[in-house]
Amino acid sequence: MAHLVVPGSWHNVTSGRVRSDLAAGNLRELLDAFVREHPDAGYRLTSPSGDLLRYHIFFVDGEQVGRTTPPDQVPLAPGSTVEIVPPLSGG
């Protein structure tokens, strides 16, 4: 299982939950699993054509994922923590 932390501002499309434990071997699988669990959050991750939105930043165990790295090429270890950080954070 990987540990996913989504932005607090997504609480209204995640039933108030910003942390999830999901089975995934890479970042793409994790994001797909998250959207299956929270379908209303899908538009915050992907464009209408299904492409991953380019402006979020992803951190895996504290390391930033390169903007051009395909998410299916970002392996996750059991217990990995993935953070999705929007480009603007705060109140």
């Binding site: 932390v5 989504v6 932005p7 607090g8 501002s9 609480h11 209204n12 910003v18 538009y43 915050r44 464009s47 939105l53 380019r54 402006y55 930043i57 951190f59 930033q64 953070e83 950080v85 929007p86 480009p87 603007l88 954070s89 705060g90 109140g91």
Partner: protein, 317 residues
């Protein structure tokens, strides 16, 4: 007609503390304001968080916890632009240098679409709503779609720099605390925030989205900026600095960090500390609670920009 009730004193007031105008980088710069140095507590006193809890405002209080605890800072005397950098000023810079912003080089920037942020093709300070609407911003509106490096490039050309967040807050409220630049009493006719169009009643995020969806359907995602200084002098800070509440989010030079231990601060805020850059002032998209003098946002400094991000410059006297 909404604008009919707005202040008529465009650029009318005489600055009490004006530092004067000067030609910088080939442009007759807007007035700068001299701010005496001061030691003051940066951030919000605890009562502000309690006050926010009581307001019924739609955002969770932990999102504002990065404003506490207050921390004593000493700021040397500085000058700061009375207004955010305008489209006309940025155009002069671009013409003189050939500079192209991150958004222009990348070919898209962010606008808020019908439901969420969207990558709008061709959006930049020249075309804030993207290429599809044909909207061109008036020269006296603040420049938007400005990434941190775009702001710094302009400032360097103008012989200036971005203000630190401590300078920004001092310029916005003075050394004594106040919620908004003019005082602790909200007045929706003193700032370009959501209240200017929807009124002062607390609105939910869902209600904001519904309103914006209607506006966007009718005319596209055109940012609702106003001419800089439109709300002067009634909306000015104690130093006569304008547009410190609303209109555009403003980049600062300060990396995001906590002022001190802040139990209860939202986890997604903690994750940007040390990574992002502090943004101040709220924007036309904000509710009044997000346009307070001590309110902080944190922006990705590696090229992020949207149709509500701008900046102003500061300098040493």
């Amino acid at each position: 007609m909404l604008l009919a009730v707005l202040p008529q004193s465009l650029y009318a007031h005489e600055a009490l503390t004006a530092f004067g105008t000067a030609a910088r980088g080939g442009v007759e710069a807007e007035e700068s304001v001299f701010v005496p140095g001061a030691a003051f507590p940066l951030g919000s006193p605890e009562w502000v968080l309690q006050w926010l809890e009581r307001q019924g405002q739609p955002l969770p209080t932990p999102w504002f916890r990065d404003e506490t605890p207050q921390t004593l800072v000493a700021v040397a005397p500085f000058v700061i632009d009375r207004h955010p950098v305008t489209v006309g000023q940025y155009a002069a810079f671009a013409e003189a240098t050939g500079y192209r912003t991150v958004a222009e080089r990348r070919g898209w920037s962010l606008v808020y679409g019908l439901d969420y942020w969207e990558e709008a093709d061709g959006a930049s300070w020249r075309r804030p709503a993207g290429v599809d609407t044909g909207y061109e911003p008036p020269p006296d509106h603040p420049a938007v779609h400005i990434a941190a490096e775009d702001a710094e490039a302009y400032a360097a050309w103008a012989g200036r720099r971005l203000p630190t967040e401590a300078e920004w807050e001092l310029a916005a409220r003075g050394p004594g605390y106040r919620l908004w630049p003019w005082g602790d009493g909200w007045c929706g006719e003193r700032a370009n925030t959501t209240e200017l169009r929807l009124g002062d009643e607390v609105r939910s995020v869902a209600e904001w989205r519904a309103w914006w969806r209607e506006a966007t359907r009718a005319r596209g995602p055109i940012p609702l900026t106003t001419p800089v200084g439109l709300f002067s002098p009634r909306g000015d800070s104690p130093f006569g600095v304008a547009d410190m509440a609303g209109n555009v989010y403003e980049w600062t030079a300060s990396p995001s960090r906590l002022y001190g231990p802040s139990p209860g601060c939202d986890a997604s805020l903690l994750s940007v500390m040390g990574r992002y850059r502090v943004i101040r002032g709220g924007s036309w998209m904000s509710l009044r609670f997000q346009a307070r003098t001590s309110e902080r946002l944190h922006g990705d400094p590696t090229g992020w920009a949207c149709f509500a991000t701008g900046f102003r410059c500061a300098g040493d006297p």
